[in-house]
């Protein structure tokens, strides 16, 4: 398999941009990534676009606006992991030798508030069972039950990520918060308060990949996995599951594959961006990715390891809790952050000497994406 290198990255800041179209945000991100990579018209042979709400031919509209069409353009929907799915396809196209340069991007414009998803049947909506934050809350409660996580730990995740996000010009929320303020924010679904949940929003991110020499930031692995059946609180959002707590979650399936493919393990990582759709989801990700033993997430957080300055900073970008979550763009937003970390470009939020990084997204489908980057 050939070496896949990240030749360039670009972002349109995540936030609320009522006067900017989905296409225009995509243009900003793709143009920036192409410029960094010094790739122009005709310089790439395929494009992959991750989006969940972007509609028909979303990627074609972006490349059409750039005046760069003719190559295969593939739009990819995989919920919160859409960008990860697009990246996986793009990386395969290069490592297999099919192409030597491809563009991957994610774009999204989400309405405010609880996400309305065509995933649910009308009867589920009518019965009040399409309550996405309710599922997050049930998952949080089980984590509290099995791992000794408390509401104070959930607040501490928010405080950590918002502190990181205050240093990120591409984040939506750029102010620090206190644990007391988090716990005083409106209760959405016990134990989750409003500030413990990320905000669906708008933005774009882009990455140019090429067959590489191994001298720049290398894409060591990009994996996408779906769920195995049986877990009632799986991101696949079933109406029932088994009384079996041993079903391996999709995040763990993807992480195992990514570590195997890259020949690396959790102990090799210097920096991680993981899915913090809600504060409990970040802690659950520590366990599912193998950053700590099962049941050890509260202890890992308390140790300070996952804060900037710690042994393994998690979400130095501020995470989705600071950036907001434009579904199709969120996974590539993580990759952009990590590439900049590995290039030592992150200034006040830089993880010193970072050489190995992992990005993780998981969401409805279920889909879980894990990307390992190395310099």
């Amino acid at each position: 398999m050939g070496v896949v290198e990240v030749a360039g990255v670009g972002m349109h800041p995540f936030g609320r941009h009522p006067d900017t179209s989905t296409t225009d945000m995509g243009v900003v991100a793709v143009r920036a990534a192409l410029a960094e990579a010094e790739v122009g018209r005709g310089g790439f042979q395929a494009a992959f676009c991750g989006t969940a709400y972007g509609g028909v031919a979303c990627g074609h509209k972006v490349l059409g606006a750039l005046g760069m069409t003719g190559m295969p353009i593939v739009d990819v929907e995989a919920g919160c992991a859409s960008g990860g799915a697009a990246l996986q396809l793009a990386a395969s196209a290069i490592s297999s030798g099919q192409h030597d340069c491809v563009v991957v991007f994610g774009v999204e414009k989400m309405p405010r508030g609880i996400i309305r998803s065509s995933f649910f049947d009308p009867w589920q909506e009518e019965a009040g069972l399409a309550a996405t934050p309710g599922y997050f809350a049930l998952r949080a409660m089980r984590l509290m039950h099995t791992s000794g996580v408390t509401k104070d730990h959930l607040a501490a995740v928010v405080v950590k990520n918002r502190r990181h996000g205050a240093e990120n010009p591409d984040a939506m929320f750029r102010s620090e918060v206190t644990a007391a303020e988090v716990l005083e924010s409106r209760l959405v679904c016990e134990p989750l308060h409003l500030w413990m949940l990320c905000s669906p929003n708008e933005g774009a991110a882009a990455v140019v990949l090429r067959a590489g020499t191994g001298t720049g930031v290398r894409l060591a692995s990009a994996v996408l996995r779906s769920h195995l059946p049986g877990s009632v609180l799986s991101e696949s959002t079933p109406m029932s599951g088994l009384t079996d707590d041993a079903v391996v979650p999709p995040t763990t399936l993807a992480a195992r594959d990514a570590f195997q493919e890259s020949g690396l393990g959790p102990e090799d990582l210097d920096v991680v961006e993981c899915q913090d759709t809600d504060a409990a989801r970040e802690l659950l990700s520590y366990e599912e990715l193998g950053l700590c033993p099962a049941g050890g997430s509260a202890e890992l957080l308390e140790s300070g390891a996952t804060t900037l300055g710690g042994r393994l900073p998690v979400n130095p970008s501020g995470g989705l809790l600071s950036k907001g979550e434009p579904l199709g763009a969120s996974a590539l937003g993580q990759v952009v952050e990590l590439v900049r970390q590995l290039r030592d470009e992150c200034g006040s939020r830089q993880v010193p000497g970072a050489r190995t990084a992992l990005s993780h997204t998981v969401g409805r489908g279920a889909n879980a994406g894990v990307v390992v980057l190395q310099r």
Partner: protein, 129 residues
């Protein structure tokens, strides 16, 4: 009228319409044509009545998309003796009044009145006596 036909029987006593695989014996809900665990087409309909035990719970405080009923409402997962955990509304909307592993009874509750004046009902679980 039920929020969807084929999900539950109103009774009394009410029951969830589940599928039990004739090949791997696992139980799923709602009943499907093929077993979601082993793909076999040997699914039999079984009616699951409970009681069960409360495995996870919360309350939904803001109406989610497409929902016309009252808030807050209880929302949780109940584990049933047939080896299945089911996502359901919980009749108690104050999480402080619930506890893990408590006994839960299957009930049928009203959701809202539709445009033809009919009461739309669904399955739910209520704390046992």
């Amino acid at each position: 009228m039920p929020v969807r036909h084929g999900l539950f029987v109103e009774g009394p006593p009410p029951a969830l319409v589940c599928g039990r695989c004739g090949t791997c014996a696992k139980v799923h809900f709602p009943r499907a044509l093929l077993c979601p665990y082993c793909s076999a087409d040997t699914v039999d309909e079984v009616h699951v009545r409970g009681p069960g035990t409360l495995w996870a719970f919360t309350a939904v405080t803001a109406p989610p998309p497409g929902y016309a009923g009252d808030v807050p409402y209880g929302f949780g997962v109940v584990e049933l003796p047939e080896g299945v955990r089911v996502v359901a509304r919980i009749t108690e909307s104050d999480p402080a009044a619930l506890s893990l592993d408590e006994s839960m009874e299957l009930v049928v509750v009203a959701l809202h009145t539709d445009e033809l004046g009919r009461s739309v009902v669904t399955y739910a679980f209520a704390p046992g006596s």
